[in-house]
């Protein structure tokens, strides 16, 4: 925690020099972080998507999908990691649990809200055409819900990449190892890694925003949400 903290532009010049000299290190730490985050998001999707789709399809469990989920979002990630350190000790599992706790709520809430909000007429028409419940879900509800559902995944991914930086504190590796270790990497390294991880987060956000546009059916594209996470709007927060 002891830092020299002299103000100045020099610090940033040094940071860019560090980036040039240690590109390999930064790339390998980025790889570690992406692996960790990818795994955490993958597991979260497996948990949250089926549950959210099913609850939305049967229009039940709004309380679970929205409120419990919001409470989950209220859990401070460093606190979850800290409690995990007490119970599980240092390591990959602990960090994974914390990231999953963080990623499941936005995915679950958005999956539920998206499917639950599909117009009743469309569902009824599909049923009238003789589709069975699974077909209704997969062919009608899911495509219409995709933009909002994907917005949840995008929010979760950005949270996870940002919080993955804290993983270093619990032995999870990644760019945080440089950011939280000024003693070894000096301010230049810390700043370089901080800029690197910022670029990474913005890149992930930008890429997913693009994918979100692509998965939006043409008819809905006009109403595609703007930059940033969309779950925080009035409707879903209460």
């Amino acid at each position: 925690m002891g830092q020299e903290g002299e103000a100045g532009v020099n610090d940033f010049t040094d940071a860019f020099k560090f980036m040039g000299d240690n590109t390999d290190l930064l790339v390998s730490k980025t790889g570690e972080q992406l692996q960790l985050c990818g795994a955490a998001i993958g597991i979260s999707l497996l948990i949250a998507i089926p549950l959210g789709l099913w609850l939305g399809h049967i229009h039940r469990g709004a309380w679970l999908a929205i409120n419990v989920s919001n409470m989950g979002r209220a859990l401070p990630s460093l606190a979850v990691i800290a409690i995990g350190l007490g119970i599980l000790g240092l390591g990959f599992v602990n960090v994974m649990v914390a990231l999953i706790v963080l990623a499941v709520p936005p995915i679950l809430t958005n999956a539920y809200v998206a499917i639950d909000g599909v117009e009743g007429d469309a569902v009824e028409a599909a049923r009238g055409m003789g589709m069975n419940p699974l077909q209704v879900l997969l062919r009608v509800e899911l495509p219409l819900a995709l933009p909002l559902l994907f917005a949840g995944i995008r929010t979760a991914a950005v949270y996870v990449v940002a919080t993955g930086t804290l993983a270093a504190e619990a032995g999870g590796g990644g760019l945080g190892e440089i950011i939280f270790n000024q003693a070894s990497y000096r301010l230049a390294g810390v700043l370089a890694a901080a800029m690197w991880v910022t670029a990474l987060a913005l890149l992930v956000e930008g890429a997913l925003a693009l994918v979100q546009r692509l998965v939006t059916p043409a008819g809905l594209r006009r109403r595609a949400p703007a930059v940033g996470p969309v779950v925080e709007t009035a409707g879903t927060t209460t």
Binding site: L75, L78, A82, T165, E169, A201, E205
Partner: protein, 245 residues
Amino acid sequence: MTAALGTKVAAAAPVIPNFGGGGTCVRQNKLFCWDWFSAHWGDTFQPALLDHIKLTLIAVGIGFAISFVAALVAYRFARFETPFSVFSGILYTIPSAALFQLLVPVTGLTTTTVEIALVSYTLLILFRNIVVGLRGVPEDVREAARGMGLTRRQTLLRVELPLAVPAILAGVQVATVTVISLATIAAFIVDQGLGSPIFKAIPTTFNTEFIAAGALTTGLALAAYLLIAVAQRLLTPWARRARPA
């Protein structure tokens, strides 16, 4: 990975914490030593909790003031909405651990650094919710206000803002909880708040300190969440039956 942790452990000499008190429980580093916690409530946890609350209130207060003005401007002149959304969206996306560090060369290891970063995370949420709340006022209501002869300012103050309160408070709720969460990371910059015992416990892997600080932070976040939910219900009795689901 191991190298980085190694240097930290070496720098913070005693692996078994030497905080005094607690006896065998602390020496064996059991899951939670109640004795140690109550002995250190007064000198560690209570001040950290109070600092944490203070950091949060200042950040949410300043963030609200900025977002409120920006939202009113964006509501009146729609072309300002996208620039501010994009700007606050970018700030929101920057990982907190990085933003705190990036501000250090500019504002130093100070509370100012911490507050600037914390405020920047509230902007997107508050701005968007205030704008959404104002936009959500039904056109009929606005027209009725105009028909009653209210001026633009009166319409805003007496009709639009009160109707936007649920959305605005929902924003305050999420912003507050977010700041409580991120303020723990701020302890890396300034030795304040509930993150401080967490960071201190890392080199020693002292379980009681991890769990106590983690539980207090979580409890604080949930308490703030519920408190604002209750405030929202009390302040907007008319919204209670209108809200579906």
